[in-house]
Amino acid sequence: MKKINEIQTEIVEEFSFFEDWLQRYEYLIELGKSLPKINSKFMTDDYLINGCQSQVWLHAEFKKDKVIFTAESDAIISKGIIAILIRAFSNQTPIEIINAKTEFIDQIGLRENLSPSRSNGMFSMIKQIKMYALIFKTQLT
């Protein structure tokens, strides 16, 4: 099983092949399309991430010490972003998720999504991912 930081490096490398924002966005959209489908019963307000302009539903379950995330979004770029985050954080232990750094976002040229503006989603998505990990960790002890 790869570590979070290894996956992050991988993602950064993939994105570094692209020369301009257009290619990066096209790749992002492609990643979004490959996002495994969330069980539609989780597409309710309870699973909606606050602070996104588009709707992003995130579900987490705890299986054999690992947190498994699934997600969906009504906007295609948000879907790509959550797909990247799920690739980086899903199937890891709570403690690894909680301690994981998030600088890789800066390096893939999507920085605008990490601004403090509340209309923007990535910040809230990461918060929610870490929140889930925290809850599962509390259940462990």
């Binding site: 924002w21 966005y25 959209i29 302009q53 588009s54 709707q55 009504d74 906007a75 770029i77 209309s119």
Partner: protein, 404 residues
């Protein structure tokens, strides 16, 4: 006629590069850009006259007070207001509306009714909801139709002797609809109801004659008409303002204070507690000077042309649907393309240097009406150009290619 080339020189921000492209600013309904004449007026105030107003007898304080009150007079003149004491400086439209709402919370009682329209900005819904919760009044709604016009019949149906207040925006921020407020005011007055008009989106595009309108209260913000942030105005009829309880309590709004009893100062000071946004008020005066120098007639006809041109061009894009098709509207276009999420389009346009707004635009009821998650909104000002609209069309087509 408008010399856009010359005008654009007054707005240095329009030369900025955004993501490597020259900025195209189509988010004017959120906030307008500020000409250097206004920025200079603010700097000059701090460099030369900065002092607290109304309180001191010294030279700087007199100067600052004169400049401050001169702005009040400019606003009075611009909107054809009979007395300058009817111009109350606030921190913005939201503050202005809250003054009225909180004042009426002390005047209304259970069973009274308040009417708002379905086209309102949240600023114009939440204060009345808060009021209704506090007082037990009932909120009733003027419905809209699919063109984005108010359904005046639905207004007549809910209007009654129980109606105490009617709140409508002059222009809808998300659709651009210019509402028939003369008619609304006339009808409401027949039942003795008072009318508050939210003019935030109207005053950047034309200059209403407030006296002739016979409106009871009118609110707007400086930052939407080339002025600075943090300043707004509440206009009211003199007797109504005199009768309205104050909102903020504080310095300069009282004429006498003891621990037993406080008497309030006259209007406008009763509503202007605390140190006001002095530089902001002075900047607002400079903004009106700037706009009047260009001339509102010129602004109106130029913006009409921009709107017409953009509407035609955008309508040619396959799958694009415009929301808000009133024949009376300001230079705002809200749209969606097929099933593409507005947020996605907004992000791609931004990458190409074009600033538009996406989302619900603080008008969730309108989005619920159309059953959409939001729109892309391009709002044009007199410093925008036809070439910029062409680039918008090009960019939308490109975004559709990427996102489909």
């Amino acid at each position: 006629m408008l010399d856009v080339k010359r005008i654009r020189k007054d707005f240095p921000i329009l030369n900025r590069l955004v993501n490597g492209k020259k900025l195209i600013y189509f988010d004017n309904a959120a906030t307008s850009q500020t000409p250097k004449q206004v920025i200079d007026a603010i700097s000059q105030y701090y460099f030369n006259n900065n002092s607290n107003v109304h309180r001191g007898v010294h030279f700087l304080s007199e100067e600052a007070t004169s400049a401050f009150e001169l702005s009040r007079n400019k606003i009075q003149e611009h909107f054809k207001i009979s007395k300058s004491c009817q111009v109350i400086f606030t921190s913005g439209t939201t503050h202005s509306i809250n003054i009225v709402a909180s004042g009426y919370a002390q005047k209304l009682k259970k069973g009274d009714e308040i009417i708002v329209s379905e086209l309102e900005h949240h600023s114009n819904i939440v204060p009345w909801q808060m009021l209704c919760e506090r007082v037990g009044t009932k909120l009733r709604v003027i419905r809209m139709n699919s063109q984005g016009n108010l359904d005046i019949k639905s207004f007549e149906k809910i209007l009654s002797k129980k109606t105490k207040l009617v709140f409508v925006n002059h222009v809808s921020n998300s659709l651009g609809t210019i509402n028939p407020i003369e008619e609304i005011i006339f009808k409401a007055h027949k039942y003795g109801a008072k009318v508050i008009i939210d003019g935030a989106q109207a005053v950047p595009h034309f200059n209403p004659n407030l006296q002739k309108l016979d409106v009871d209260y009118y609110a707007f913000s400086a930052h939407k008409l080339c002025g600075p942030t943090g300043v707004g105005v509440l206009y009211g009829k003199e007797e109504l303002l005199k009768d309205l309880p104050p909102y903020h309590g504080g310095g300069e709004m009282i004429s006498n204070v003891t621990f037993e009893k406080t008497t309030y100062a006259e209007i406008p000071y009763k509503f202007e507690a605390g140190t006001p946004n002095i530089s902001g008020v002075i900047g607002f005066g400079a903004a009106l000077d700037y706009l009047n120098n260009i001339g509102f007639n010129n602004i109106i006809s130029y913006e009409e042309e921009l709107l017409k041109y953009a509407t035609e061009k955008l309508n040619l894009i396959n799958g694009l649907k415009i929301f808000g098709e009133s024949i009376n509207k300001t230079s705002v276009i809200s749209f969606n393309v097929d099933e593409i999420h507005p947020y996605d389009i907004g992000l791609i346009l931004d990458k190409m240097g074009i600033a538009v707004r996406t989302g619900k635009h603080c008008t969730q009821p309108i989005m619920d009406f159309y059953n959409i998650p939001g729109t892309v909104r391009a709002s044009f000002a007199f410093y925008n150009t036809f070439e910029e609209i062409d680039k918008l069309v090009f960019a939308i087509n490109k975004a559709i290619n990427i996102l489909k």
